[in-house]
């Protein structure tokens, strides 16, 4: 199934819980050695997709192949080639970090000595060597996540699934996880990462698939997605609230759609069809109307706007 260099191939994946449709025909193709971001709001079907691909969840229709093996019929083969980092850190809280990794290593059929050596290596790599003997329940959220990540890559999996890997982490913990994921991709692991954070997808993923109500509604590189909703935008920030209607009128001259008004920030924003001349036209129109401006810029759309356009919902900001 699929061509040689695709590590994840998903075609028409369907899953319902009772009469609730969770996946409504998901399609995905992830080239080997790249990171794919599965971006979507709450309840979009991200976790269900990941669980299906990680052999944890039966699905009702469609097919899926991971690392060259069919998820439904060759689950055992798939399991030797994947790592899973779920929405919560799935490690033993009572055991130490080292004990955890040795146990998982043994379950991956490593010999006792190989499992211990691998545990040492991974603890060192993730900066946990000092706390390897301490019980995991004394770890911080970031440390747990890193241990979780280490457990997911004991066999250096061909494909690593990460389900919202930075939820609940402080910025430092998040940076640590991001660095670890980038490292993995650099070493050739294929990563499928779900997130509600555009920022996270933008930074980690080579390609993004936007998922909403169980379907992929758009995909491409972050740049392609931005280009897809087209148009560049012009933002006008006025000094005085009273000038907002005049700014809207001025923007209408060049706008490809209805200008949006952000009263709190005294900003009017509109997509434009052509870059050439649009900015100058707007500035002229504003001058003619006697509007005093703080800022007039021509810019590419942010991923937030892409997301809003594609799903009709606001995305979440990465907590600062």
């Amino acid at each position: 199934m699929g061509s040689e260099d695709l590590s994840i191939v998903v075609e028409g994946l369907r899953k319902r819980y009772g009469d609730k449709v969770a996946l409504d025909g998901v399609d995905l193709r992830v080239p080997s050695g790249t990171a794919c971001g599965l971006l979507g709001p709450n309840g979009a079907g991200k976790t269900t997709t990941v669980r299906a691909l990680a052999t944890l969840q039966r699905f009702d229709g469609g097919r899926a192949a991971v690392a060259g093996f069919d998820v439904a019929t060759q689950a055992d083969r798939v399991r030797y080639r994947i790592g899973l980092v779920g929405q919560r850190a799935a490690v033993d809280e009572v055991l130490g970090g080292h004990q955890n990794l040795v146990m998982f290593g043994r379950l991956y059929r490593l010999g006792a000595r190989a499992a211990r050596r691998r545990a040492d290596e991974l603890l060192a790599r993730f900066g946990l060597a000092d706390v390897g003997d301490k019980p995991v329940r004394t770890y911080s959220g970031g440390m747990r996540r890193r241990l979780d990540l280490a457990a997911g890559m004991i066999l250096a999996p061909a494909v690593l699934f990460l389900d919202e890997p930075t939820v609940g982490l402080d910025p430092r913990g998040r940076d640590e996880v991001w660095a670890a994921v980038r490292d993995l991709v650099r070493q050739g692991t294929t990563v499928l990462l779900t997130t509600q954070y555009l920022d996270e997808a933008d930074r980690l993923a080579d390609r993004i698939s936007v998922i909403d109500t169980g379907k992929v509604v758009a995909d491409g590189t972050p740049a392609e997605l931005k280009a897809r909703i087209g148009a560049d935008r012009i933002d006008v920030v006025v000094h005085d609230h009273q000038d907002l209607p005049a700014a809207v009128a001025a923007l209408r001259v060049v706008a490809a759609g209805e200008p949006e008004v952000d009263r709190d920030n005294r900003r009017v924003s509109a997509p434009v069809t052509s870059r050439g001349g649009a900015l100058a036209d707007v500035v002229r129109a504003l001058d003619a109307a006697g509007v005093s401006t703080e800022d007039v810029v021509l810019r590419r759309p942010t991923l937030d706007e892409v997301f809003l356009r594609l799903t009709g919902r606001e995305s979440q900001e990465v907590p600062a």
Binding site: L95, G96, L107, Y108, R109, I154, L155
Partner: protein, 275 residues
């Protein structure tokens, strides 16, 4: 940083050998829990000791054994079986916690033998049951309980008690897989006491109202208690019903029936985690 990434040497998880290897890895994990967190074990043992002291000395004076004989000798075999019942909530808690934390999902995403997680649990809990039973017997000896039958009979009695625990492990695993959340698990713990009181473990069913006595006699716990009292040579409650007269047989059959029902249920529930 460069590392040599290990390659799994055996990409074939079929076969009894790997099931047992994985089960042993998980048994050792559970044993490691005890050495990491001995307080849990000590609390459980202390709780059992407390109940023995409470019933043996505080209430014991008011208790009459129908066939004659000391209440503490009557009580101890009941307590041996009762501690096996108290084990249910331990099993349930452990299973529910793994499920809630996502540890079970990690196991299921790994190439290990699927049965190993459950077998590992069962073996670890049985090992703990042995420790509990030995502790309780030592306590019994300290307060005047004696096994007056042959050593073989005493061993047989111990075997019946552990056989009951084995059956209850599967009840506990099933409940842990079905009940989600710690509150539900706490409910299991509360139900253990009535299960014990509605049996011949603490008092003779003959002293209960007739219908309660009948329920108590048919409680699986009663058959184990009655049979082990005979094997240890301790006073029992006699009883004229069929079930009371066939205690040794039923001490084998009851747990067997529980296993026959709850082991497949637990396995089915574990499999259905992927539905």
């Amino acid at each position: 940083m460069t590392m040599t990434v290990p390659v799994a040497p055996h990409e074939n998880r079929a076969g009894l050998r790997w099931t047992l290897t994985d089960a042993w890895t998980l048994t050792r994990r559970n044993l490691a829990h005890w050495s990491r967190n001995p307080a849990v074990l000590l609390t459980s043992l202390a709780f059992n000791v407390l109940i023995v002291l409470m019933f043996g000395f505080l209430f014991g004076g008011a208790m009459v054994v129908p066939g004659g004989g000391g209440y503490r000798e009557f009580l101890m075999p009941g307590m041996f079986a009762m501690t096996m019942v108290f084990g249910i909530s331990m099993t349930t808690t452990a299973v529910a916690t793994d499920l809630e934390r996502g540890v079970t999902d990690r196991f299921r995403s790994m190439p290990m033998a699927p049965a190993a997680a459950l077998i590992g649990r069962a073996v670890a809990d049985l090992l703990f049951a042995v420790v509990t039973l030995v502790t309780m017997m030592l306590l019994g000896l300290a307060i005047g309980w004696r096994a007056t039958g042959s050593p073989g009979a005493a061993l047989g009695a111990a075997g019946l008690i552990l056989w009951l625990r084995f059956a209850l492990v599967w009840v506990g695993i099933y409940l842990g897989l079905v009940l989600r959340g710690q509150e539900a698990v706490a409910g299991v713990q509360i139900l253990e006491f009535p299960l014990g009181f509605l049996s011949g473990a603490f008092v003779a069913p003959a002293t209960m109202p007739a219908w309660l006595g009948a329920v108590a006699e048919w409680n699986p716990l009663s058959s184990t208690v009655q049979a082990t009292r005979e094997l240890f040579g301790n006073p029992g409650w006699g009883g004229e019903s069929w079930i009371a007269g066939h205690a040794p047989l039923m001490a084998v059959v009851w747990p067997l029936a529980l296993v026959a029902v709850f082991l497949p249920l637990a396995v089915r529930q574990y499999r259905s985690l992927s539905d």
